[in-house]
């Protein structure tokens, strides 16, 4: 923003003298402007949010009195030791990672055809508009409603069983597959949106150029389109990956006896009241997500969120 002062004070500036003075001050001092803009949001994010996270991580090094449940604030690595040595935590962590990755892949596979068709293939703006609206509307349906819908569909003698019965088959029932399916369903709009936006921004001329150079549609897609829209795909994957990793409600509704890592966190805080252990367990998703974000930062995906 240019720091040139107003050329000639026009007569219209007679009113609001102090406003003018303030405006002039800010116009000349870029850094004060920046400070004024930054203070409140930064305070919010840094102090409230990061500070809270820091407090939680500190609590991970404490423990609780097993009888009274009071927190004992003595530094100890016992929680982390338990997390690393007991096999169940490793198993559940790997299972959760596996689910998160599967959901991301499934969603990417589902989102690409839809986004591609809407942005590049169809020539009717009305169809394009309709597809975009139709795919984003479910965001409003609500998480729990969709979870419940899947419960109805996948439960024993539910909709899927009823639909497959004439074929003599039955659905997968509640469990791991059900959880993966339901989670893919939930986060699909979050993947479609950035991918569509990225495809939308891709100039048609690039695709035409690739065709002119002799590449067929498949080759064009693989070598030209995908690398360019990769930040968009990654932006979508941030949501699908971390939302799946941190989910504990869906698996309780459609997961049968399965548990995910976030259930361990939830059971320890909401049920057992063992904040230190829950906090220690929570550091796993934090590290994974922060690591993933840091890794994809360079691809520019964060701007596509």
């Amino acid at each position: 923003m240019s720091t040139s002062t107003a050329a000639t004070p026009s007569p219209a500036s007679a009113g609001g003298g102090s406003g003018r003075a303030l405006s002039r001050f800010f116009a000349l001092h870029a850094r004060s402007r920046l400070a004024a803009l930054l203070t409140a949001p930064l305070a919010w994010v840094l102090v409230l949010y990061i500070g809270s996270l820091a407090m939680m991580v500190v609590a991970a090094f404490w423990s609780v009195d097993s009888f009274t449940g009071s927190v004992i604030r003595n530094f100890s690595l016992a929680n982390f030791q338990t997390l690393f040595t007991e096999t169940v935590y490793r198993e559940v962590a790997l299972r959760s990672l596996g689910i998160a990755v599967s959901v991301t892949l499934i969603d990417a596979a589902l989102a690409l055809p839809i986004a591609l068709y809407a942005s590049k293939i169809t020539t009717s703006p009305r169809i394009r508009y309709a597809i975009v609206i139709l795919t984003t509307m479910p965001l409003w349906a609500g998480y729990l409603v969709k979870a419940y819908a899947w419960r109805i569909m996948l439960d024993t003698n539910g909709v899927l069983d009823w639909a497959l019965a004439p074929l003599g088959l039955h659905g997968p029932g509640l469990g791991l597959i059900a959880t993966t399916l339901a989670l893919s369903y939930l986060w699909l709009p979050y993947m479609i949106l950035p991918v569509y936006a990225a495809l939308d921004r891709l100039p048609n001329s690039v695709i035409d150029a690739s065709a002119d150079l002799g590449a067929g549609p498949g080759r064009t897609f693989r070598s030209v389109v995908v690398p360019i829209i990769l930040p968009g795909i990654i932006a979508g994957s941030i949501f699908t990956f971390s939302l799946s990793l941190g989910d504990y409600i869906m698996v309780k509704i459609v997961g049968g006896t399965t548990q995910m890592f976030a259930n361990i966190v939830y059971d320890n805080i909401g049920v057992a009241g063992n904040l230190p252990f829950a906090a220690a367990a929570a550091t796993f998703p934090i590290i994974v997500v922060v690591g993933y974000l840091a890794a994809v930062r360079r691809t520019g995906a964060l701007e596509n969120l």
């Binding site: 449940g69 009071s70 509640l174 049968g256 006896t257």
Partner: protein
């Protein structure tokens, strides 16, 4: 640029300050060997209602007509006392302890595996039973018991007691089960359709089964388990997991899974069976197996520092009044604590069916109790404490 750097440093310092503030406040370390009884004041009189009451309760204990229009003893209470009641349903004792520790509730209907934790944790205050007139006619065998009193001081008002029953769908489970082996047998014909209670306290059910079927393990109290006994119970539960369709924590989970047909057999509360039968989609029966059962004896307790103590004392008197205690007991399917309730139950044989006045029967149930490292059966070995039970439970669920 220096201003920004300075600003950044200040912000970071603020974040750190918050952390230190969180560290530095309140509770000093309590690294004493045995639990110490906090010294908390007891109310001396009940004044005017404060207008609100926040309760943590088991499902079915504080009905306000939303489950069934005709089942409501909260609205009459509000009319009589002026206290608006907000009920938070706790699915397990653990949840209830955690909720009470948040300090936002005035009272709780605690089972024996929560009561002592609440008492020694300073979360609940002693109860002045003189302020609860209906307490006088509560069954004597429920007064001054190890789970609701310490050194002769009562910490709550008994609500009712009952056993965890074995519920089954007779259309699928055609031969009525008589033993808990129905849910533990690795070769069960109902594999994949059995359900179990989702709480570490369920380990006691496995221990009870082993107590009767493997006496050489030497279990005398299902809540007092040494390493070997505990491991046997955990192994049994890991085997059981392969038979399960799901674990139920909220009573509605079990109700809906039986109604949907995904479960046909499992441990239950009588109210679950009553609700399923009332809905009429499937029919269920419940039975108390030959090995006996775990159960619960619930006590209404008042929070230490409760914001609405008068309303809570009024509630405690209300809930053990003859008519209301009868209503609760019949709705839930448990034995009422109030002896006079037996005269006003709508089913004249209710108290006989539930052995409400039979102290000998009542003493046979293995009530939920918090396991401690000092063995509850008095043995001189190290028993598994509740923290070990909780961690083992995560491992069992896998």
């Amino acid at each position: 640029m220096r201003k920004q750097r300075l600003f950044g440093a200040v912000a970071l310092a603020a974040a750190l300050a918050m952390t230190v503030a969180g560290c530095g406040s309140s509770t000093p370390d309590t690294k004493t060997s045995g639990p110490q009884l906090p010294n908390l004041p007891m109310a001396t009189e009940v004044g005017q209602g404060e207008g609100t009451l926040n309760l943590v309760a088991w499902a079915g204990y504080a009905e306000d007509g939303s489950t069934d229009k005709n089942v409501d003893w909260v609205t009459p209470f509000t009319e009589a006392s002026g206290c608006e009641v907000n009920v938070k349903i706790g699915n397990t004792s653990d949840e209830m302890v955690t909720l009470m520790k948040s300090g936002q509730y005035d009272g709780v209907s605690a089972s024996g595996d929560a009561t002592l934790r609440l008492i020694y944790g300073g979360t609940v205050a002693p109860v002045n039973t003189d302020l609860v007139p209906n307490y006088a006619t509560v069954a004597e065998f429920l007064k001054n018991r190890p789970w609701n009193s310490v050194e002769g001081q009562m910490y709550g008002i008994p609500h009712g007691w009952g056993a965890n029953v074995l519920m089954y769908n007779p259309d699928v489970v055609t031969t009525a089960p008589t033993s808990w082996s129905a849910v533990f047998d690795a070769n069960s014909p109902y594999k994949g359709k059995i359900t179990a209670y989702d709480s570490p306290i369920y380990i006691a059910d496995a221990a009870l089964y082993l107590m009767k079927t493997q006496p050489d393990l030497g279990i005398t109290d299902p809540y007092a388990l040494d390493d070997k006994q505990f491991q046997a119970a955990v192994d049994l539960l890991k085997t059981q997991k392969t038979l399960l369709s799901n674990y139920w924590a909220a009573y509605t989970d079990e109700v809906s899974s039986f109604e949907q047909g995904s479960s046909v057999l499992g441990t239950a509360w009588q109210i679950n069976a009553n609700l399923i039968n009332a809905d009429g989609k499937v029919k269920v029966e419940s039975v108390l197996p030959t090995e006996g059962a775990t159960g619960w004896s619930d006590t209404w307790m008042i929070a230490a520092g409760a914001k609405h103590p008068n309303c809570m004392y009024k509630w405690m008197d209300w809930i053990v009044s003859a008519k209301v205690n009868a209503q609760v007991a019949e709705w839930f399917g448990e034995a009422p604590a109030q002896t006079k309730s037996c005269d006003v139950t709508s089913d004249k044989n209710f108290c006989t069916t539930y052995h409400a006045l039979d102290s000998a029967y009542a003493n046979q149930i293995y009530y939920w109790t918090t396991p401690m490292s000092a063995c509850l059966d008095g043995r001189d070995v190290a028993c598994k404490d509740y923290a070990a039970w909780t961690q083992a439970w995560t491992g069992i669920k896998g």
